[in-house]
Assembly symmetry: C2
Homo-oligomer: 276 residues x 2
C-alpha cells in the first residue's frame, strides 16, 4: 500500500492509495476518507462502488460525503471500478472492459484472468483495509448505477459480511437490460442461468439473510426505464418478503448532484447499523 | 441566454447557461444554482470566481456549496475564468491566457480585445443575472486563488456593489508574486504603477468603503509562501485600518477539499449580509 494523495477535509484526511491486487493482477487505486475520529479509535467502514466510466476519483471529489462521514465517524473506501492498465483486456465503448468491471468474477476469455471485481471488492479489499487502517469489523456497502448493482449483489451473495447496504440508481436487473446483457455476455458467457447469480432481483428470492435494502432513485433519471427498472426489484422483494425501502425522488437525474443531495441520508442510515 | 444543463440538487436546480458576452466578445458559460426558495421569491446572489485552469464546472461539481445555498436561500453564480475559443488569444502554460484571465481588464495586445474579465464579472454578468433570474439587488462575491484575488479586487474597486466579500487562498499581492507578475506583464504591460489598481493589498489603503474581508487560508497550501502571501494583506489592512478576518487553517492545502470544508461558513457569512 502506497499513499499517493492526502488532503485535509472536514477535520479528517481524504487519501488515495495504490496497491498490487492479487485478485485482479494489476495495480489498483482507492480513495480512503479517514474522519477526525480515526485518530482516536477504531471505526467502521462504508465501501462505495462507483458506476460506469468512473475511477476512484469521482465519488471522493463530487459526492460531498466527507462531511457526513466526519459527523458519524465512518471511514469511506471508494475503489476503482475495474482492473486497468496496458496488459489488461479492454473493449470499445464505455460499458465494457476497463471502467466497466460490473463487480462480477468473469469466467470467459479474455476477461477471466483480471476481471474479478466481486472477489476484489468483497474479499481482498476489506482484508487490505482492515489490516492497514484502524477499523472495527463492521462493514457497510453502497454504490451508484453499476456500483449500486455491485453493492446489492455483494450484500446478497455474502450474508453476514455487511451490516447494511444501500444503492443510488442501481441496475437492479442486469440480466434484463442492455448494459447488463452486454457485460454478462462478455464476462460470463452464454449460459443465462449463470447470470442470475449476479442479478439482485434474482438473488433476493434465495437470500438467507433479510438485510434491508435501501434504494434511492431519481424519477428524471435518463436511464430509469431502459437500464435501471427499480420496480423489478420491488416486485422481487414483495414476492420474497425481502425488506426494501425504494425512495423515488421526483425531478432528480442520474448525476452526482442527485448523489450529493441524498448521500447524507445514506451515511446516517449506515451509521445506525455500523456504530454500536 | 441558453440553458445547457439542469440538474435537481438539494431541492433546487443546478443549471449551466451560455450567452454571448459583449465585454469579452465570445460565448461564455456560467453555473447558476437556484435554491428551492427561488420559486417563491426574489433572492440575493453570491458570485464565485474560480482559480487558474478552472471553468464553470469546477465549483459546481466539487465544492458542495448547493447544500448551504439551499439552507440560506442564496443563488450561486459561477462563471468561467476567461474568454475562450478558437478566435481568442492564448499562451503556453496554465497561468496565462485561456483559463487564466486574472479578473483584470487587459490593456495590451493581443489580450486587450477579449480579456476584460473584471468588466465582465462586476458589470455585465450581474446585469445579465439580475435581468434573467428573480434576484434582489443584494450581491456578494467570493472565489479561490486567482478567483480570490478577483473577488477581493472586485469588491475593493467597486464600493457599494457588494454587501460582502470573502476569499479562499487568494493571491492577495499579485504584483509581488510570480503568477501575478507574469499575468500583469502580459495583460497590463510594463508600467508597474498601473498594476497596483489590480492588487488587493495595494487597494486597501485607498478603499473608500470599509467592507470587511474574510479570508480562509490553508497552512499546508503548496502555494502559500510563493504565490499567496496572506500576511501582505494582513499588514496592509493593519496599516489602513481595514477590517480583515484572516483564518489560517492548519493542515489544509489548496484543493477543493479545503473549499468544501469551509464553504458552508462562507455562505453563512454572506447570507448574514445578503438576507435582510
Amino acid at each position: 500500500m502506497e499513499r499517493i494523495e492526502r488532503h485535509a477535509c472536514f477535520g479528517g484526511q481524504q487519501e488515495v492509495w495504490k496497491h498490487a491486487s492479487t485478485s485482479l493482477g494489476c495495480e489498483m487505486r482507492l480513495g480512503v476518507y479517514l474522519p477526525p475520529q480515526a485518530t482516536q479509535r477504531r471505526l467502521p467502514v462504508l465501501y462505495w462502488l462507483s458506476g460506469l466510466t468512473c475511477n476512484e476519483q469521482n465519488f471522493i471529489t463530487k459526492a460531498g460525503a466527507q462531511r457526513y462521514a466526519a459527523e458519524h465517524g465512518v471511514i469511506l473506501v471508494a475503489p476503482d471500478t475495474s482492473p486497468r492498465g496496458p496488459g489488461i483486456a479492454d473493449a470499445d465503448g464505455y460499458d465494457l472492459g476497463q471502467g466497466a468491471g460490473f463487480y462480477v468474477d468473469a469466467t470467459q476469455a479474455p476477461w477471466a484472468s483480471h476481471f474479478r471485481m466481486h472477489d476484489y471488492v468483497t474479499r481482498e479489499l476489506p482484508a487490505l483495509v482492515e489490516a492497514h487502517f484502524r477499523t472495527t469489523d463492521a462493514r457497510a456497502i453502497s454504490g451508484h448505477s453499476m456500483g449500486g448493482h455491485g453493492a446489492l449483489v455483494a450484500a446478497l451473495r455474502n450474508p453476514g459480511r455487511y451490516r447494511s447496504v444501500s444503492a443510488f440508481s442501481p441496475i437492479v436487473a442486469p440480466t434484463q437490460v442492455p448494459w447488463g446483457q452486454k457485460a454478462f455476455s462478455a464476462y460470463l458467457g452464454d449460459d443465462h442461468e449463470a447470470w442470475k447469480a449476479w442479478d439482485a432481483h434474482e438473488l433476493v428470492a434465495g437470500a438467507s439473510e433479510r438485510l434491508p435494502l435501501l434504494v434511492d432513485q431519481g424519477e428524471a433519471d435518463e436511464f430509469l426505464v431502459t437500464q435501471l427498472r427499480p420496480l423489478l426489484l420491488q416486485d422481487a422483494c414483495d414476492a420474497a418478503g425481502h425488506p426494501l425501502e425504494l425512495r423515488m425522488r421526483p425531478g432528480y437525474d442520474h448525476s452526482y448532484y442527485f448523489i450529493a443531495t441524498f448521500i447524507g441520508e445514506h451515511i446516517a442510515h449506515h451509521a445506525r447499523a455500523l456504530v454500536d
